[in-house]
Symmetry: C2
Subunit: 348 residues, 2 copies
């Protein structure tokens, strides 16, 4: 409401340096054709007056907005969000993305969009109109939603897709989920396990499929059967309990289980305890995510670390530099197996 704006503008700088606005603008944006002497004088004034350009004004005049939008799936409640994702995801996403953005003078804004909504485009479209971000980062399960990617293509806004393999438009970045699952499986096979159960994640996340695939391939490669050994979960603790129960009710029961996230692994651990199964002696356990919790369970869990912060950092850099080396697509920021105390050879 007509709040008096006492901030320093480009014309104050111009006046102070005794040049026109346009020259100042050139200096700010590092454009050519400015005499070094002039440039120095302007920079001195900028420094002296602590001038910082207004992002709103820059955006208005058709330049950048220095804003990067991160699209996350909206859960109905905070509890639900955390149940499915674990706190760590947000933490790393925020810090990884934010630090890198800040380095380049950009800021990040988070937006929640409901996948199961017919108006995704409308909703996103409105956000874009309001914010006019320079780039957008899509997180699963939005990363491969054609409604969204088409919209972005059409609007010509650069975007990155986290957890995506399909090259196509936008930068696809993934963490080698299939490879990681295979690595975990091979680790268990190496220890002598033959019946290795797998708890899959929610199917609207493509990475859930990739993880299953990796496990399946590793099993096949070792000549082991995977029949009945894959049970469906949805990343929640509760679904993990059900899946673990189903797996351990099989005869013969698996001697090892890989869970598609930490929450489901924790559930599996609890089920094992309730059945008086010792981990790792009676049951080996490997999880995906490697959030801080897994270091405080008994035993500490062997897990596939997901480099989320690094992934967001990469996404931000790609967007800002508008990289264009389509040969590299999809970009890989690989996960890695962190060995702790939840795996051992099966009992003879």
């Amino acid at each position: 409401m007509g709040r008096r704006n006492q901030s320093v503008t480009i014309s104050h700088v111009a006046a102070d340096a005794g040049v026109s606005l346009q020259t100042v603008s050139r200096v700010i944006n590092n454009e050519p054709n400015v005499r070094p002497e002039m440039k120095a004088r302007v920079q001195a004034s900028i420094e002296k007056l602590h001038y910082v350009p207004s992002i709103a004004a820059q955006r208005m005049s058709g330049s950048r907005s220095y804003l990067i939008l991160v699209i996350n799936d909206r859960e109905r409640t905070i509890a639900e969000w955390r149940a499915r994702r674990g706190a760590d995801w947000v933490d790393q996403m925020l810090l990884g993305g934010m630090l890198t953005s800040a380095e380049h003078g950009y800021r990040m804004i988070f937006e929640l969009v409901d996948t199961h909504n017919d108006h995704v485009e409308r909703e996103l479209s409105g956000t874009i109109a309001a914010l006019q971000p320079d780039g957008i980062i899509l997180t699963p399960p939005h990363s491969e939603n054609p409604l969204i990617t088409n919209l972005l293509d059409q609007r010509n806004i650069p975007f990155a897709r986290i957890g995506s393999l399909t090259p196509g438009s936008g930068f696809a970045i993934h963490m080698g989920d299939a490879g990681s699952a295979a690595q975990a499986t091979q680790h268990l096979i190496g220890l002598g396990h033959k019946r290795i159960g797998f708890i899959a994640g929610a199917l609207d996340y493509n990475l859930s499929h990739w993880r299953v695939d990796g496990w399946r391939q590793a099993m096949a490669q070792a000549g082991l059967s995977d029949a009945d050994l894959c049970v469906q979960g949805d990343f929640s603790y509760e679904s993990g309990r059900e899946a673990a129960t189903a797996l351990l009710n099989l005869t013969p029961a698996p001697t090892a289980i890989i869970a598609s996230n930490d929450q489901m692994a924790l559930a599996t651990l609890d089920i094992a305890n309730e059945r008086n199964l010792l981990v790792p002696q009676d049951l080996s356990l490997i999880s995906f995510d490697n959030t801080p919790v897994v270091r405080f369970t008994t035993p500490q869990l062997t897990a596939i670390d997901q480099p989320i912060a690094a992934t967001f950092s990469k996404a931000v850099e790609l967007l800002i530099h508008q990289a264009t080396s389509p040969s590299e697509q999809p970009y890989l920021v690989p996960g890695s197996l962190v060995e702790r105390a939840s795996t051992a050879p099966p009992k003879a």
Copy 2:
């Protein structure tokens, strides 16, 4: 760079509805003096064209920016950040604040500012000039930094101070740290404990002092001595180990310990295990924060839950509604004791 901007503007709406821009602007901002019939016609056009006002333009013309800035302390690395704060803080801050902001059409932007920097004002001042936020949320230890609050006062930007008791300018919101500490202490006293140790948090956070005070008062009230029983930590796991060691080396050793955050409580639990002390039989343990980890330790930890999401939600609402009921200051969003399995009567 002169990217063609194909978005719908206010004049498109005006043309479609057959009225002037100003009328459309009035309708958007719910101003009086518009005939209902006219208002309906304009709203129909807005709906039809999917018009959404550009925030940059709104900000430019002296209105709101619909941006709320959250200032956090910058740690040197992500690991350091997480060590001191635990992942959950970020998660709840983001979700609590974001959901509430979104409800009112606002967005949040996070900014890291280095406390130990002489140029705090300069840095913050630049961010404000660039973003021109409608409100700012200060988190500890910035909440009571006079350099910052003075700057904000002077610029006349509404702000909230999380974890602050001092009324003064801006909205002070706290979680009743002293009361919570007292509650935890009384809980232990009720169980029969007489020697209750306390691990304090980093002293540049005021809430660290309040927690110590609460414990001290509860001890005094029960006629118990607190001599030597308070040891300094800095919220990190490592400092927790040292503090716990110091406390358990006392003779007689405390039979219960309250840690100022979960990280230090986890460290205490580890130290107890290493010394073959059973929790809770030999040592009762209560922590602050109640992050998800404490449900997965053995035993599960009794903890003071800190309603961070609710606090941020409150902060956002105060800022947006520009509430002015100074009588209520400071606002309280109280923590609560969550009883789990880490406390028991002391051995006879």
